[in-house]
Amino acid sequence: MTIALHPNIDSHLIETLELVSDPEIPVLTVLDLGVIREAVERDGVVQIKLTPTYSGCPAMDVIGDDLRTAFAKVGKEVHVELVLAPAWTTDWISEAGKRKMEDYGIAAPLEETADKDALLGNKRIVKCPQCGSTNTHLVSQFGSTACKALFKCDDCLEPFDYFKCLK
């Protein structure tokens, strides 16, 4: 199952990759997030292609360091290359990742059209990760990190982050 999801990743590296998570959303591993585009071991060195979610995302530097640390623990050297094309999209977040995100209190990205309606404040469709109500409204198009917008639930009154759809 896991192998089929990551065709460009050597299966024996998955266990270690699963130990590295997004520093801002620690429940998501780099595999859940879809930022590892390739990971292969050649001549004893692990070659990783990492793609940023957003150009300025400071998590990328940390993820690079964390990858080196994680593989150093199992005695492997890592070379991380940052690749920009094709550009990251929220479609690459795994289904498991979306579930973990919701459990963590962040509403997962809607599909493109629905996302636009939600972020323009046209429709109340973003589901509150606390109580499940869709009676929610947009507070701010920009949130605590580049990838999120801020919403508030009008039923349970809790504010929450919404992970923006990026296509």
């Binding site: 300025g56 550009a87 198009q141």
Partner: protein, 251 residues
């Protein structure tokens, strides 16, 4: 330098993002409300992220032993190639929004063309940037409408900002010799082709925001040649302070 023309071209693109990113970063903790403060700094982060990838590429192209930080921090004012628009100060929030909107419309049109560049790295940076800049434009455009079509006071201030910044819009389409060369080689963008679409789009939104489209015939130029407005020196003294005071310092 082997690739002097390409190096200079990349700096021109990157400097626009760096200087606007720096201006927006000045608002960190000083925005008129928490939401707008976060928005401006988020946009700043996107722009500085784009800048980093441009500068990393420029450092590589230069063939010298330099890093993105050398390029960002250790040049003199005359060596920055950004357009005058992006260095204009955060006079009031209307200015911040007008400057942003006037640049965002250009930026998106520009990246839409740059994604077809023969240069793979520039094309990749553009494709990534398009997604981010579309969101910036949505934010700035919404605020132009909200302030323009808002209260008497907000309308007056928004119009004042648009009038004051309008003179810097024509420079966005100025083609330097280097731009010309890069466009001919299929690496860069022919800016003159974007002009009509730009003014059409901006005029439409200004009208929707009940603002008047300025009828100015006089425009200011110079940034692309390194001749900046007086605001630039102050901006750079903030930007370069750490590297000038503590050379080679690292976080």
């Amino acid at each position: 330098m082997k690739n002097e023309a390409l190096y200079t071209y990349i700096l021109g693109l990157a400097d626009n993002s760096l200087i606007l990113g720096q201006r927006l970063g000045e608002l960190c903790g000083h925005g008129p409300s928490l939401e707008t403060d976060i928005a401006c700094t988020n946009i700043s982060l996107d722009l500085i992220g784009q800048t980093r990838t441009y500068y990393q590429y420029a450092a590589k192209v230069s063939g010298k032993e330099i890093t993105e930080d050398d390029v960002a921090f250790l040049r003199l004012e005359r060596e920055y190639r950004n357009v005058l628009l992006v260095e204009q100060p955060n006079t009031h929030f209307g200015f911040v929004i007008a400057r942003q909107y006037l640049f965002d419309v250009f930026h998106l049109l520009f990246l839409n063309e740059l994604q077809h560049s023969k240069d793979e790295t520039l094309s990749a940076i553009a494709k990534k940037g398009i997604k981010e800049v579309s969101y910036h434009k949505r934010f700035s455009g919404d605020w132009v409408k909200r302030l323009g079509d808002g209260t008497e006071e907000s309308h007056k201030k928004m119009q004042e900002a648009v009038n004051a910044l309008w003179r810097y819009t024509d420079e966005l389409f100025e083609m330097s010799e280097g731009d010309q060369q890069m466009a001919t080689e299929g690496i860069g963008v022919d800016l003159s082709k974007l002009k009509e679409a730009y003014y059409e789009e901006v005029s439409e939104l200004l009208s929707e925001a009940t603002l008047e489209v300025p009828e100015r015939k006089y425009f200011s130029y110079g940034g692309k040649k390194g001749i900046h407005t007086e605001h630039m020196g102050y901006l750079l003294s903030d930007l370069q302070y750490m590297q000038r005071t503590y050379p080679n310092m690292q976080w």
